[in-house]
């Protein structure tokens, strides 16, 4: 597979798309033909869940394609929009009060665009500390100026957390796109691709594994399917696919395997955490179905990416010392 490194970039990308969309098409055709048969209700439900995950993978693949085809600026913008929609959903699900209005305005209309501008213009130092340091101070100040002590810590903590996950986490995907690595210029799109594929693999493999294994769930009140073994199998699947993809990345096979393990494992953990959050907010239906105010369920789809992107990003930076 090392020979593939000698192809030109656009040839490599062509190959990637051929493989990716080909594989997706095959899986989709198999699944659709399965849905034509009569399945028992229990399997039917699982099948629907799998189709939903598959749709998410399609979205991820298309997102990657668009971001590569239209260049880094458009890609950054696209991730910005996704981050906006996810954060909007997050804030809808949390209880904020009137006094938080100014703080939320700051988060939506200044912090979010500025963070993505920082990512797009490669100001990596400020990009890394802007939200954890400066926004961390600004938001509670604005909330306190709102003159409402009722559940103050709870409110500010929730807004803070939402910003960290939906904006900070998400912004690391376009930042990867623009990361300058030694002897790997212009290849950022491959890193994003690698991340998306590895995380999606971890999710799907974990889903299948938890269905097959029927282990006792670790935290029944939060997720009835999450078990340690299923999680490990999912992460291992991500590592395996990551190693297979090593030629598209700046890594050697073994580091590619480890990176896949890290990204996939943290991604499925992120999904698990988001389930806990939705349970807390009183949302029973997961994905597709309409909830409280018609929140459409984008949040749980991007959560794995939001959680794994910063971890992966800093793992890459640390590994290459940039």
């Amino acid at each position: 597979m090392g020979a593939l490194r000698h192809l030109t970039i656009s040839q490599q990308v062509g190959l990637l798309f051929l493989g990716l969309f080909g594989a997706l098409a095959i899986v989709t055709i198999v699944q659709v033909s399965r849905s034509l048969r009569d399945l028992p209700p229990e399997q039917q439900q699982m099948h629907e869940r799998f189709m939903r995950d598959l749709r998410a993978v399609w979205w991820g693949a298309v997102l990657f394609w668009v971001s590569w085809a239209l260049g880094a600026v458009v890609a950054t913008l696209l991730f910005g929009v996704v981050s906006f929609v996810a954060f909007r959903e997050f804030i809808t699900l949390t209880q904020t009060r009137r006094a938080d209005h100014r703080g939320l305005l700051l988060a939506f209309f200044f912090v979010l665009p500025f963070q993505f501008i920082l990512a797009g213009s490669q100001h990596l130092d400020l990009f890394t500390v802007f939200i954890p340091v400066y926004v961390f101070f600004a938001i509670p100040v604005l909330s306190a100026l709102g003159n409402d002590p009722m559940r103050f810590l709870e409110r500010t903590a929730k807004i803070q957390w939402g910003i960290m996950v939906c904006i900070y986490g998400m912004s690391h995907a376009p930042a990867l796109l623009l990361l300058d690595l030694p002897r790997y210029e212009e290849h950022g799109a491959f890193l994003v691709f690698y991340l998306v594929v590895v995380v999606a693999t971890a999710q799907i493999v974990q889903e299948i594994a938890s269905r097959r294994l029927r282990r006792r769930p670790v935290a029944r009140a939060i997720s009835r399917s999450f078990s340690w073994r299923a999680w490990l199998i999912g992460a291992a699947g991500a590592a395996f696919v990551g190693a297979l993809l090593y030629w598209a990345t700046p890594f050697k096979p073994i580091p590619a395997l480890v990176m896949g393990l890290i990204a996939g494992g943290s991604g499925t953990m992120g999904e698990f955490v988001m389930k806990a959050l939705k349970r807390d907010a009183g949302v029973r239906s997961w994905g597709g179905k309409l909830s409280v105010t018609g929140a459409v369920g984008l949040l749980d789809r991007v959560a794995p990416l939001c959680f794994s992107a910063p971890v992966f990003f800093h793992a890459v930076r640390w590994y290459f010392g940039v």
């Binding site: 909007r88 804030i91 809808t92 209005h101 939320l104 939506f108 309409l290 105010t293 018609g294 929140a295």
Partner: protein
């Protein structure tokens, strides 16, 4: 596309971007029949939300009510309400010789649909205030017009009283089943029934 059409398109897009403006047609389909939508009133944003939740072809024939003194006070406000929303202007001060419902009656006579907020003023969260009698009189005069209750959810979080810039939070509008004025039904009983029909939509999921 004319300027008001383009501006309306942009406004609807903005409302959808900020609130999602999801319309749930629970008790009736979105059809081009003559209707009076009546809803709870919590924010200046309410009308835009209902308007954006309607399908495009219904927006053109569905009109809001606007207070004449406020919405004609500047050229811009006047232009927005007249050209984009095609609002029905009413006088807030009651004069001796004029029925405040007259412009509404005239609009319904033309076959337009209306959106009204029978509470008369913006309430805080919680239950809507008692309804004003206008809805009853319109129902009496136009028995063939459908009365559709609607519940607007979450909008007070988008733009609380006294704030100017809306914060992006998802909202929804739930439309219920048409209501009818029963023969011989008392005014107060009807208004209470209408208010309960609006509140009942709160728990529809």
């Amino acid at each position: 596309m004319t300027l008001p059409e383009a501006a309306g398109f942009f406004l609807a897009f903005l409302a959808r971007l900020i609130t999602g403006a999801q319309g749930h047609w629970f008790g009736c389909p979105p059809k081009a029949e003559q209707r009076i939508y009546f809803a709870n009133h919590q924010s200046h944003f309410d009308w835009v939300l209902i308007w954006a939740a309607l399908p495009g072809d219904l927006r053109a024939v569905t009109r809001p009510i606007a207070a004449r003194d406020y919405w004609t006070s500047s050229p811009l406000k006047h232009w927005i309400t007249r050209e984009i929303f095609n609002a029905v202007y009413v006088n807030r001060q009651r004069t001796e010789d004029q029925d405040p419902l007259e412009p509404l009656v005239e609009a319904l006579g033309h076959g337009d649909s209306l959106v009204i907020f029978p509470e008369g003023t913006r309430g805080n969260k919680g239950d809507p205030q008692p309804f004003k009698s206008g809805l009853y009189h319109l129902a009496e005069q136009f028995p063939s017009v459908q009365l559709i209750p609607a519940w607007i959810d979450n909008v007070q979080r988008v733009m609380p009283k006294g704030e100017v810039v809306p914060v992006p939070i998802l909202c929804s509008v739930t439309f219920g089943a048409p209501l009818q004025l029963q023969p011989g039904e008392d005014k107060r009983a009807f208004l209470e029934r209408a208010r309960e029909a609006v509140m009942a939509l709160r728990s529809v999921r």
